[in-house]
Symmetry: C2
Subunit: 481 residues, 2 copies
């Protein structure tokens, strides 16, 4: 697994306090030209992204996932009913004749559509791709309208909680592999939430909107959420207060046991099913050795309509500056859950295919790793060039072209200046600035003697090798380094 | 360089004759659910795509390119003026408030916008990404409305034709590396085309539309193109005939020499510039050893408005079934050219940044390689799983979960059945069907003895190893295979 470098605790604390503020001006500047809320990724950023995606995709493949790709747009009607209050964030295409289309909002709905369309009863797949959401001026908070998602999902009728436990294991492997510091995965179950709503006296017609309010608890204090539920969503104050007693609970498997004994909740069939599954889940997570990363948290709701069972969300914890301080939540970096009814919505006969999955929040991770590398002063090479073909000679292009073609044909990564008469010093400077390790130098003298010089940029040492041995010699040096 | 398997000549001939017809029913079927003209890529297709993109991107990196990523949509005004007659094919987003946006039509215009926006005077970059075009019912001909492009471009003011020659070298390396059989790169120059138009008497206002007609010569015979120019575009018949004399010429560097002597063309300043550059280009291509792949072809026009100098297009040649037959063009698989004015269009002060680049037509290549693998009967593994954790025992889930977590934590790609009581035979069948090479078997007996069995799926041989040596033993076997 590629390692991405560790940061001392103090540096982490500083970094995370930055993350809680709007992104620094460099980031704002990159957005300025794109008032549409999107951004370009520079070569240096692309290198970081490639490394992170490599860790993520390697983990998905380690768990036996197959790759899948679906189009950027879907039929509009496929998308509109699945995102609750967020449906207004879907980008529609202009009606230019033909079907009405919309840009995908996530990778989950297209996956469900794919399963139904191809009548697949089971599949373990991953998908890395862009999704689009018309978020309003949230750019200043580091949210963009185009972003990358990395999803892993398991579809199929299996024995309970085995695939669900694997999803949580995958989140742990990825977040550990990326060395993002301490993290916690909050777990809850939609059936427990619904059970809580029912026993607290929420009318069933209000379940979804109240769930959306609860979902805001990671960004808003309870009093604000309560206010929203009572004034905007018309909930009776005493009902809101009863909900408040529950959603402030969090703990381990002992909380599951405790709720089994809860006089009101234990009367609710749905809640009991959820609690029974969570108990089993904790058993499997113990065998995977990851329960220390898991918190059963009744405030976790997840905004999307399609979840039907267990739900989860991973947050990074700020390493506390002082021992007595509480670890600080710096935002969600992975999330997912079970959605057993979604595929049936796309199947003409309504056949069900139970699914569970997860999505890695790579955009936030990109940002954190990028900031960490800057903090560590790590220089990122934007190219992988191994050899630079240089000359001290004027009008020596022909020999250089012949030589570099030989290197390319041998699979060696090589560059040369696109000039007839480049200056040797500026060629050497270029190598130092861009981190190219080797320079091949050829001039009149070398040509006459049938040799070329190989220069190490780091040591500045030069040796002459026979022209015909050049490729072998370079390959030897590259394999040694 | 990964090798993709060679096909006997006869199989190629059969394959290519298929390619000239509409795609077979399997392909049509995959499209049926997507009347919007897009498609999903199955896990098997994704494996093929990944291998091909790996060859392409490795070559781009070998030539020192940096990665870049730009958003799927751009401001509509950025796109509308650059695609000539094809502007109608641009997908617009619905006006939902804010700027008017369109999906990108290619990766070249966003690259030029990026250079201008960041005031970059030089850059060598590659970009792999989707683009979208509202092509009409062309799906039956294997063209889709969403497709992947792989672009490599060199921006900057350099000595003439050095980067241009490198672009042609890259096309050769990629097409050879993918072992697509014989190919030819047609080369021409926009200035020579304009020169031909001028000396034949085409009014300057008609240059672009006549160029679009010429561009159809690879799909239509000259008589049809002539008809279009005369009746639809209002060209005088004698002017069309004069053009006809030129555009039917093709050859090597000797044709360049011949046109230098052409009494009419040699009077045209633009044409002379183009010819001079082509002569230099041929000199560099000789040093790269690739002139046998190059044909100077006056019928090559390229539809896009932004080209200003050399243009090129690579076509695969059908290996003739009989020696006396002409090789047959089966369509373009790579193309590009020089566009020196495009960046200036996006720069507020109109600063020029000369550019040259290429785009690999990976969709067509995907299709060809996929068909070839089918023809060869090659089975494609959709996962990379190395080990399957099986059991002959009922209620043995706990031990399996502990064991597989160990494998995952050691970086081993492993799967297990999501069942409490799986049948051993069906577990072994699954491994045979999906190509998993090793099975780890654990049951009561093994647990008691402190061992596990490792089974080779190919040989069906089994050995018992100590439980604590499992990971080391598996790693040893995987590194040997």
């Amino acid at each position: 697994m590629p390692q991405l470098g560790l940061l001392p605790k103090r540096a982490w604390a500083a970094l995370f306090s930055q993350l809680l503020r709007p992104p620094p001006s460099a980031c704002t500047q990159a957005v300025r030209g794109h008032s549409q809320g999107t951004r370009d990724f520079s070569p240096q950023q692309m290198v970081v992204r490639e490394k992170i995606l490599d860790v993520v995709v390697s983990c998905f493949k380690r768990h036996g996932a197959q790759g899948l790709d679906t189009p950027a747009f879907e039929l509009k009607e496929m998308l509109t009913e699945n995102y609750g209050e967020n449906s207004g964030l879907i980008y529609d295409l202009k009606d230019q004749g033909g079907e009405l289309l919309s840009l995908r909002y996530d990778l989950t709905v297209p996956f469900a559509r794919y399963l139904a369309m191809n009548k697949l009863k089971k599949m373990k797949r991953y998908h890395v791709g862009k999704v689009w959401r018309r978020e309003s001026p949230a750019i200043v908070q580091g949210r963009y309208r185009e972003f990358c998602q990395c999803d892993f999902d398991i579809a199929g009728q299996f024995d309970p909680m085995i695939p669900d436990a694997e999803c949580l294991k995958i989140i742990c492997e990825i977040l550990s592999g990326l060395q993002l510091g301490n993290f916690l995965i909050k777990v809850n179950d939609r059936r427990i939430i619904d059970g809580v709503f029912a026993v607290c006296g929420v009318p069933e017609s209000k379940f979804r909107v109240i769930c959306s309010s609860i979902d805001k608890l990671d960004k808003m204090p309870w009093t604000d959420v309560r206010h929203e539920m009572v004034t905007k969503k018309g909930l009776a104050p005493e009902v809101a207060d009863r909900i408040g007693d529950y959603v402030q609970c969090h703990g381990g498997v002992s909380l599951v046991e405790q709720l089994f004994q809860d006089p009101r909740l234990s009367q609710n069939k749905q809640a009991l099913e959820g609690l029974r599954d969570l108990k089993l889940l904790f058993e499997y997570l113990t065998l995977f050795g990851i329960t220390d990363k898991i918190s059963f948290d009744l405030s976790l709701a997840r905004g999307l309509d399609y979840y039907t069972g267990v739900i989860y969300e991973a947050v990074l914890l700020q390493t506390p500056a002082q021992a007595e301080e509480e670890p600080l939540n710096v935002g969600s970096v992975a999330a997912g859950g079970r959605y057993d009814e979604l595929v049936a919505m796309f199947d003409p006969k309504g056949h069900k295919v139970p699914c569970v999955g997860l999505s890695i929040g790579v955009e936030r991770i990109f940002y954190i790793v990028e900031q960490r590398m800057k903090a560590l002063g790590e220089k990122i090479r934007a190219t992988e060039t191994q050899v630079f073909v240089a000359t001290p000679q004027k009008n020596f292009l022909q020999e250089r072209l012949k030589l570099i073609a030989e290197l390319w044909d041998a699979g060696i990564k090589a560059e040369m200046p696109y000039k007839n008469n480049p200056k040797l010093l500026s060629q050497l400077h270029y190598c130092e600035n861009t981190g190219i390790p080797l320079v091949v130098i050829i001039g009149e003298q070398e040509l006459k003697e049938g040799v070329v010089k190989i220069r190490s940029v780091a040591s500045r040492g030069e040796v002459a090798v026979k022209r015909e041995d050049l490729v072998t010699e370079i390959q030897k040096r590259l394999s040694e380094s």
